[in-house]
Every structure is written in C-alpha cells, then in structure tokens.
Symmetry: C2
Subunit: 342 residues, 2 copies
DNA sequence: TTGAAAGCGCTAACAA
DNA sequence: TTGTTAGCGCTTTCAA
C-alpha cells in the first residue's frame, strides 16, 4: 500500500492540483475526468458526480496552458488599442471583455500607439500566445505586422475604419462619410467660415480632408485646419482654439476630432467670453458619456463602441469554434447627435 | 536523403513553424536553438547566427503556451479592475501594461465589478492561465476568491487601499487619511456647512466617514452625505447637486468622491447660476487629466496611478523572476491639489 | 461509456 | 558548448 501515491510528484511539477489528482481521487482515468469537465454528457451521472466532488474537495483549477497546447485552442483573444488613456475605445474594450468572458474567453490587452517597433514587438508577443483571435483597433497598413498576422492564420477583426482589403473580418465605419456629413450639417446651419481642430491621427486626418473637400466643393472658403498634436486632451483643445482665433478671428463653426478637444475649445471660448453656439458652433466626435451633460450639451458624432465590441467578440468566438461568420465585413455607421453646441 | 523531412508532421500539429523546424534548418538540436533564443550567451556565435537566420527565414514565433507549460513561467500578468469605463484606473493600467511589456510580459485584463459570482468566475479563469502574477484593484475581502488566490501561490499585488492583512504585496493609500485631510482643508478655508457626494463604492464610503468624523469632531454641523449611485458620471453629479441643494440650501462646500461627480456638481451649479467657488466650494478626487483645464480649475485629491502601475509591475516581475522584493507593502500617499474650485 | 497511448511544443535536468 | 531524455498537464486518436 503506497499511501503516498497521491503526493508523489516529479521534481519539475509545481505542486498544484492536476487533473491526474482529481482522476485518482475519483477513481477514474484522467481522460474520463477531462470529459466530465468538458463534455459532461459523454459521461455517466455517477462518474460525473464523483469527479465533481473530487474537483471541489481538491480545489482543482484546470491548467489552460496545458489544455490549450494539447487542443490548439487557447480561449484567449488579444486586443490591440493605440492607447487606453483618455480614450474613445473604452466602451468598446469593456463590451469586448465582457462578451468574451461570458463565453469563457479571456482578453489579452496590448497598447500599440507608441512606435512602429513597439507595435511589431507587440504583435509577435501576441502571436506567441497563440490566441484564438485578435482584435485590432484600426486597419493594419501593409508592413511586417500585417504580413505576420496573415501568416499566423489567427482570426482577425479590424475595426474603426473601412478598407477594401481587410486581413480577415472588419467592423467599421467611413471617416470620409463623417467628414462630409458634418460639413453638410454645419453648412445647413448657415455657417460659412469654418475651422477644424484635429488630433495627430491618420483617421482624424481623413475626416478632415473630406470635411474640407465638402466645404470647398460648395463654394465656401477653405476651412482652417489646426493640428492639436498627439494628445486628445482638454488642454490641447484650449490651445487649439487660441490658435484658431488668432488665424481666423471670425470663425463661425469648428469641428473637433474628439469630444475632449471639443470640450477644451468650449472651455477656452468661455474663458474668453465667447458664447457657444451663438458666436461659434462647436462639434465633437465620439460621444463620450458626459457629452450630453456639459453646458452647452455637446453636439457630436456618435460611434457605437459597445456594438463594435460585442459584434467583434461574436465574430471571433464563432471563428474560434469553427462556425461560419455570414457577414464578416460590416459598416456600423455613425450618427450626428444634435444637441446645443452646434 | 529524405528531402521531405522538414514538412513531415503528425496529424495533431497546427502546421505552424516550431522550434524543431528552426533547429533542423540550423543543423542543431532543438534545445540548442532554444538556448540561442533564450540565453544567447550560452551558445557559440556561429550557432547563434545560424539559428537567427533560420528564425528569420521561417518566420518562427515561439509558442509561449508550450514554453510556459514546460518552464511553469508564463510571462503573463493578470489585472483585475472593477470597471474600465469612465474610470480612474486607466492611467494605472496604462503604465502597468507598458512596464510589463518592456520586460517581456503580457497583461491579461478582467473586469470584476458586476457581481460576486462574476468576480469568483473571473478569478478562476485567471488562475487557470497560471499567470506569474496578479494585480488586484482594491483589497480582497475574505471569501472564496481570496482563499483561492492564496491557495494558488501566485504573486499578488493588492492596491488602492491599505490593510494590515494583505494577501501578499500591497501598494495603496489611506482613504481615511484622505477624508480627514480634505475635511481639515475645507475647514481651514472657513467652510462650516458641508456636504459629500459619493459613488456607491466601499472606499468612497470610508473616505466619507472619515470626513464626517473630522468635521463633527471639530464641532461643526454634521455633513450631508448623498449617495450618487453606482455611476461616476457627470450626470449623477448634476443630479446629486440638485439633491444636496434641496436638503441643505445653504451648503458651503462639497467633497465629491470622483472628479466626474465634481465636474457634474460644478456644471449643475453653473446651470443654476451658483458661482463656484464663491458660493459653493467643490472638491474632487482622482485628478483626471482634464481637472486642471476646467473652469474653475478643479481642486482635487491626486493619486498617482502611474506610480502604482509601475511599482506593481516591478514587484510582480521581481517575484516572477525569483528576486526579492524589499518593501512589499507601500503607502504611496496622496496630495491635495489646490486649484480654483475650493 | 471508458480507457491506453501518444502527442501538443517547449525546457529542466543530467550528461558528455 | 552541445545534446539526450524526460517530462510540463492536458486532449486527440484509436480501441475496447
């Protein structure tokens, strides 16, 4: 009677409870214990009960690294955002995380927006974990990262943009259409001399060009474009308004590339005793949670981050489980929320 | 000459390039290739070069699940936050993610703040990944989660609070001290009739009690406490101010449990033509990035999320690599940032 | 319904 | 410095 059987371990083991321990205690083979946990209806009720009891009494938590290695199915989804701070991506990451969790998947998070080298390294680190899917904020331009992603064969959802050549799946909207519609909206309000405050960001630049095109196409003076730099902060919005005012003192309407910048512009206007929207109309982009509660309530472009997150999660899970995704490219659109600031 | 050697694979393989492929191509044993990648100075320059060439030409990305399983060292750190949206934890998660990444670790993110059942499930999901460390926002109360965490033997950093009984490491500050000091600060400004707007959150409650204690201890009337509910939004702040005004029309100073709530209170005051800080002083908590740029600039309590994130990352990495952590419990403190609103 | 055997891709341990 | 062997803890495959 080797009574120390259950504690005998190789030198390499970590000492944690393994499936083998559970199986031993339940008096079945490891594979049977595995089935009891993963496909319980393939196992008799008695065995199921014994295994469950053994799990409870040992406090067993399955090692997903081992499971993932054996099954090549990690139940891990990676998400890449440019940055988290002060960001418009939070709602999306929130719904992504929760939707994934509800289906038994975990979220690995990476921030790409520091340098190209950082992004490449991040992608390699992600691929090394063999996630079942990758969510990318934005569309991946040609380059090392895109090639590696494609070569990896991992399911990919790109987002926040449209492209005729997605790597795999795509959930986005048209920045050009937004620029055009916002211009049309502001022109419809009778504004003629317009300016644009934008962050140093490629998608904001595309909204800006479309805006400028639409305005000039209608015979109005070319809008002033001010680049507020990399930060989407209230501070940069305040500074940018100062710059707009010095270059175009009679500006009538300003389209900002984020709600934070718009909040800054409105704040600076107030500090200078300029009335919004009477003297200057201000529009934002993103519809942050507090946009409606500011004074004046912010007129802005709404993007449904929550919807993108949930949809992306569903797509990625479907792919991971070998189910077909009917509409792997979807334009979620946007809407202009007319409130008080413009 | 079996020229098809390099493509021969078992049926279970995923077809991805493995270390074996690299080793074969470089003409060395797999373990040698492994050493070339992980401990390059244990390998001759020629072998190193050959392996690196093989890696480049094959596009090999090491499988970290396999490596983690073999070495029981996952290079994965999990972080648990109550919620991401509208949150004060962003700066911390940002610095945590980046500091970890720079040392070759990845961040797995989970949101706990929905229910106890959700939190327990989240913890099991995390433990199942065998991360090298876990970062918890807050201190874990007694319960299933805490027990499981302790049993797992994984390095843990608790944060945003102090406790005499941390699970392992702790990086936090005293909410009681904040309540007391803010009360002292406001009394020092001559305020007598005070109110408190707080989110439905245990730590905010402790700041509130300490605040109330300090005020009454000094013989002033007991502050009014308004619970703004679970959301830390501008909207709730506006509503809460309305409530404060109806119950204590002559209120002189209000301490809000977050900058968002404070922003809401200031906004509502403005909508009612009440001047801040002349008629009512308002203080926030958290020092969000835009606090200094509001009108009036927000007087608030600053907590260094960035510092907590960086420190936590260093502690967790040190533990993961078997190095000692000299000061596993640290009080990072706080500071009152006097600006214009109070 | 249950189990034995053979891996998944990598690294620790030991040897040469 | 390099290699052999034997796992890490789980699941696939095949057989009973």
């Amino acid at each position: 009677m080797k009574s120390n059987d259950s504690v005998k371990r190789s030198r390499r083991s970590t000492g944690a409870v393994t499936l083998r321990d559970v199986a031993l205690l339940a008096g079945v083979a490891p594979i049977t214990a595995s089935r009891a946990l993963n496909t319980p209806n393939q196992v008799s009720p008695e065995v199921l009960q014994k295994v469950q009891d053994a799990v409870t009494s040992t406090g067993y938590v399955p090692n997903r690294m081992a499971g993932g290695l054996a099954s090549s199915h990690s139940r891990l989804i990676a998400a890449v955002v440019p940055t988290l701070v002060g960001s418009v991506f939070l709602e999306m990451i929130d719904s992504l995380t929760n939707t994934l969790f509800d289906s038994g998947y975990q979220l690995m998070l990476g921030q790409s927006g520091y340098s190209q080298a950082h992004e490449d390294a991040l992608l390699d680190a992600i691929i090394g974990r063999r996630p079942d899917g990758i969510f990318v904020t934005g569309v991946m331009g040609p380059g090392k990262g895109r090639t590696r992603l494609q070569a990896s064969g991992i399911a990919v959802v790109e987002s926040w943009d449209l492209t005729p050549t997605p790597i795999d799946m795509l959930i986005g909207f048209s920045h050009e259409a937004i620029g055009t519609e916002v211009a049309t909206y502001l022109m419809g309000k009778g504004h003629q001399r317009m300016a644009l405050i934008r962050a140093d960001d490629e998608r904001a630049a595309r909204r800006a060009s479309a805006f400028v095109d639409q305005v000039t196409r209608n015979g109005l003076p070319e809008p002033l474009v001010v680049n507020a730099g990399g930060l989407r902060s209230v501070r940069s919005g305040r500074n940018a308004l100062t710059q707009v005012l010095s270059q175009m003192p009679d500006v009538q309407a300003i389209f900002c590339s984020s709600d934070m910048l718009a909040t800054g512009a409105i704040t600076e206007a107030r500090a200078r005793g300029i009335r919004v929207p009477d003297q200057i109309a201000v529009m934002g982009f993103g519809n942050v949670p507090f946009a409606a509660d500011l004074i004046p309530a912010l007129t802005t472009v709404h993007i449904s981050g929550g919807e993108m997150g949930v949809t992306a999660a569903h797509y990625l899970i479907a792919r991971a489980e070998g189910k077909p995704v009917d509409l792997p490219v979807v334009n979620v659109g946007f809407s202009i929320l007319e409130r008080d600031s413009a």
